[in-house]
């Protein structure tokens, strides 16, 4: 410890590099960080409390607001959790469509990460390229669901509607284009000497510590643990696809960067396979108490009209029981603990958000580093405050 006094500074709540309203109280010895106290809750909306007073279908748009950079993955986590509680399996075609939309959302989330992460460190160019390609995915999402950022495209028991030929055309163009785009990001950053000096050996967290601090997702894999829920506990037909789980070695900012860069391509590989092998068939489970009757039937049949009305207003009734189901979100393990009590409202919905745990481990990664490295470390764990505060 140096002789001088420690300096306490506030980083945030509106610092541009905190990716939302996160306040870090940093204690500095010169420029070295000796203590980090994160303060969260500025964006707390009480979604878990609100969900307890809504029916199961109504909760879906709320889940979009957790990690709004990759909204479909939150829908996927929630819907698969409720389906697990209901004990139903959605048709294969719906599962594949979910995989396509989910992986597109993951790429979207990683786009925002690479853009803002590089921007925080000072590489300004990347964000323009990332957002150019993100726009393509947003357009595709709009084509299929009508919304761009928070599509709420999934439903309990399937998806809102089938994908369109236009979407498939856009997607094929995107698959053809995207490897070139990733090569472009690589050119800008991977061998860039400034980028390497800013990220290598910064924010190192060992394999044991990463596990003990509960990290998941690319941040855990950067430390060399191949824990990916898509492989470890497959859901929504992920076992059908051939893809690699990239892992790092050193657990520093650079390794976490490399892991995510590889995930761009692995996600693309999954999308490609899902599109090639897309099965025919319905996109919703065949269960009158869960699935809306189609609009044609509603026009002709009074019982279909009543059923649609009932499903819209009341939602499915979910049996008594408790399940924990987790999916691989773009930041890590996104888990839903849902308690059903036999009615149409969830008795309790607890969200295990990956960023919440990642922020709690910030101090471990930051201690002993310079204050400028704090920015790099926050960028590397890729946090979204909407998910932390819920």
């Amino acid at each position: 410890m140096a002789e001088g006094k420690l300096l306490t500074i506030n980083m945030g709540p509106h610092h541009p590099a905190t990716h939302g309203v996160l306040r870090l109280v940093l204690e500095l010895d010169g420029e070295t960080i000796v203590k980090v106290t994160p303060h969260i809750g500025h964006l707390h909306r009480g979604i878990e409390k609100i969900a307890e007073n809504m029916n199961y279908q109504q909760v879906i748009p709320l889940t979009d607001r957790f990690d709004y950079t990759a909204a479909t993955l939150n829908n996927l986590g929630y819907c698969t959790a409720v389906e697990k509680l209901l004990g139903i399996e959605v048709p294969k075609r719906a599962q594949y469509i979910r995989v396509i939309m989910g992986e597109l959302a993951r790429i979207m989330g990683h786009h925002l990460w690479i853009g803002s992460h590089a921007l925080d460190i000072g590489a300004m160019t990347v964000v323009f390229y990332a957002f150019r390609d993100r726009e393509m995915i947003m357009n595709m999402t709009e084509e299929v669901s009508g919304y761009r950022l928070t599509p709420s495209y999934l439903r309990i028991g399937g998806v809102a509607k089938d994908i369109t030929p236009d979407f498939i055309k856009f997607l094929r163009d995107f698959i053809k284009w995207f490897p070139t785009a990733v090569a472009g990001y690589n050119t800008l950053l991977t061998d860039n000497i400034i980028w390497r000096q800013r990220t290598m050996n910064i924010g190192v967290i060992s394999k044991e510590d990463a596990i003990n601090y509960g990290l998941t997702g690319p941040s855990l894999r950067g430390s060399g643990v191949p824990f990916d829920l898509r492989k470890a506990m497959p859901y929504s037909s992920y076992e059908d696809f051939d893809f690699q789980v990239p892992v790092g070695e050193n657990g520093d900012v650079y390794d976490r960067y490399l892991v995510r860069m590889e995930e761009f391509l692995q996600s693309l590989k999954i999308i490609e396979q899902a599109l090639e092998n897309l099965p025919e068939g319905p996109v919703n489970v065949d269960n009158p108490w869960i699935t809306n009757p189609d609009l044609g039937a509603v026009q002709e049949d009074i019982s279909a009209l009543i059923r649609r009305f009932k499903i819209q207003c009341q939602g499915p009734e979910v049996p008594e029981g408790e399940v924990y189901h987790a999916v691989e979100g773009s930041k890590g393990e996104l888990g839903f603990y849902i308690v059903g009590d036999g009615t149409e409202n969830p008795y309790r919905m607890k969200v295990r958000s990956p960023c919440f745990i990642l922020v709690s481990a910030l101090e471990k990664m930051m201690l002993g580093h310079m204050i400028a490295d704090a920015i790099a470390i926050i960028g590397s764990i890729d946090i979204v405050l909407g998910e932390i505060d819920r």
Partner: protein, 167 residues
């Protein structure tokens, strides 16, 4: 060789015959209900045992079961990074009782326990830094309790529109 749910339960029952109250195998996930007195010991064993080795604590979930007695439930979501198994450990907590913290076993328990304390008012004895996490420090009440009004306390009252006073 992977160890399955049945074997985990067998091992737990053999080691803690008096602590395991009940076990539920629902939709492929095993939930073991243990007594409050032994929960720390059980979790320590699950972490340390070489075969079980649940080294990753994903989350700590609090549930308010009002009016049931005991009122609260706390669920620990454990993973093993050896072969990616999942196990849920549940403990029943009466109002006013404190749960022993597991931050000494897993650092990842720190914030989830604070969250349970903040939103449900369940105390964790031995926690190094048990403060509110989402709500501000002088907030009264615990929002996720079932007797906490959905729209907040102010909106639960009746107001006189003329005098703007609470009736």
């Amino acid at each position: 060789m992977a160890i399955d749910n049945e074997k985990v339960l067998e091992k737990l029952k053999a080691k803690f015959s008096d602590a395991v109250v009940e076990s539920v195998d629902f939709r492929g996930d095993l939930t073991v209900i243990v007594t409050l007195e032994k929960v720390h010991e059980v979790l320590q064993y699950l972490h340390d045992d070489a075969e079980l080795h649940y080294d990753h604590l994903s989350d700590v979930v609090g549930i308010d079961r009002m009016p049931r007695d005991p009122r609260f439930e706390v669920v620990y979501v454990l993973h093993s990074m050896d072969d990616f198994r999942r196990l849920l450990i549940k403990v029943m907590v009466a109002e006013g009782d404190e749960v022993p913290t597991v931050t000494d076993i897993w650092n990842s328990a720190n914030w989830p326990e604070r969250e349970v304390y903040d939103l449900l008012g369940i105390g964790f004895s031995g926690h190094p830094d048990l403060r509110r996490i989402f709500m501000w420090d002088d907030f009264e009440g615990h929002p996720l309790r079932k007797d906490f009004p959905l729209r907040g306390k102010d909106f639960d009252k009746t107001w006189d529109p003329d005098t703007i006073q609470v009736l």
